[in-house]
Amino acid sequence: MRTVNLRGGFVDGAGALDLVFSGNAQLYAIVRLSLFVTLCATAIAGLVGLALGAAIGLTRFPGRGAVVVTLNGFMGLPPVVVGLLIFLALSRSGPLGNFGLLFTPAAMIIAQAVLITPIIAALTRQLIEDLWVEYAEEFAAMGVQPWSRVTTLLWDARFSLVTILLAGFGRAAAEVGAVMIVGGNIDGFTRVMTTSIALETSKGDLPLALGLGLVLICVIMAVNVGAWSLRQWAERHAG
């Protein structure tokens, strides 16, 4: 039987941080891979989600209501289910099996991107649609051309769009079920912060798990602080 020293986990909180910040090369590799995977996934999902959201927000077509509801529902896709479906698609006998992506960082990027694309698209759709209602008559009176209307709406929504991207980033960074399934948590290759935390917790190394958890929260906070500072700067230097 495994003994879990819960008390030690907290009493040794300082020890955990020592471990985390002691320049452990292996740990840096895990943090680096986590950031790489999540940033790639956010970039891909950002491109697809913004375009998709803006397109749905600004067009009217039969069945649009169903598309909007589906998209909103997909914001709550269960990560393990997405992981399973992508696992099936990427496995040797699956439709994308030939690419040999299963248990690689690329598979993890795909999984996170699939998870957060609906979030980014759905929130963008709502944002752009509301802004469009506000701007429509003014655009008509000013004689703004259709394409320019789209770019103007996206530009004027820029700060809110960054917040939406951050929501996607946060969700992707915190995700564990899907990357565990499609990445396999292979030491030195597909092990990221969330899967390490799950592993260390189950092994009973609570100080390390706790330390990694702190690092993960710090990374997400750092990205948000960076985005917030950028916004402050942009608002001061608007022009």
Partner: protein, 235 residues
């Protein structure tokens, strides 16, 4: 002074939401000093302006804009009662209006337009951070960026304090003096007296009276206009 109509309504009717908002409007607006649409809230002033601008189409009858000497259609510009400020600087708002109108956006032109509305010192401030009066003046600059022959203004001072109202009215008077035909809606009698060359009095979606301003204010021809001028509610 040519008196050819620059804007003609012929039996124009507009309906929305199952209600007739404007009924059987026939009206020839000619060049000259401002034409003021006067009437209580809900009379149909905004609807009439939108019809004139072509933002909405009449259900029946016609609305026709005149043409310029060279045969091209008259250029129009519209200022909404609550103008939407683009989320960028005052200067960028003007530049945007110039671009949308297909005009060049030189710094000199942007400066000149901001100068006309007294916002040159606010050029680099975010439009949404400007005061109500400044936003209204920026909206005027955006409208003027279209270099209009006819300028439609919907209650341009409705939410402004007296000082800001005076600033906006001075710009409107100056614009009209330069030969731009101003067609504006207001429910403010004082503003109508200060600016109007002629008055279109609307009530409950109907054209009640159309007369030169002195005649309208001194000898209103209808009971409804008399009551409105006396401060009674006209419905």
């Amino acid at each position: 002074m040519p008196v050819l109509p620059c804007l003609s309504f012929a039996s124009a009717t507009y309906a929305a939401g199952g209600r007739t908002l404007l009924a059987d409007i026939s009206l020839d607006i000619t060049p000259g000093s401002p034409t003021v649409l006067l009437g209580p809230n809900g009379a149909g002033k905004t609807t009439l302006l939108k019809l004139a601008m072509g933002l909405i189409a009449p259900a029946a009858g016609t609305v026709r804009l005149g043409s310029r000497v060279d045969g091209k259609p008259l250029r129009t510009a519209f200022m909404f009662q609550k103008p939407v400020m683009l989320r960028r600087t005052a200067a960028a708002n003007v530049a945007f209006a110039l671009a949308a109108a297909g005009r060049e956006q030189t710094p000199a032109m942007i400066r000149d337009l901001l100068d006309q509305v007294g916002l040159i010192t606010q050029a680099n401030r975010l439009a949404r951070k400007l005061s109500g009066g400044e936003q209204q003046r920026l909206a005027l600059a955006r409208a003027l960026a279209r270099n209009p022959d006819i300028l439609f203004l919907d209650e341009p001072t409705a939410s402004l304090d007296p000082a800001a109202t005076k600033a906006v009215e001075d710009i409107i008077a100056g614009t009209a003096a330069r030969g731009v035909k101003v067609v504006m809606a207001t429910h403010d009698l004082g503003e109508a007296r200060r600016l109007a060359g002629d008055v279109v009095f609307l009530a409950a979606g109907r054209l009640v009276e159309f007369a030169p301003a002195p005649a309208f204010f001194n000898q209103p021809a209808t009971e409804a206009a008399r009551r409105f001028l006396a401060g009674d509610l006209v419905l």
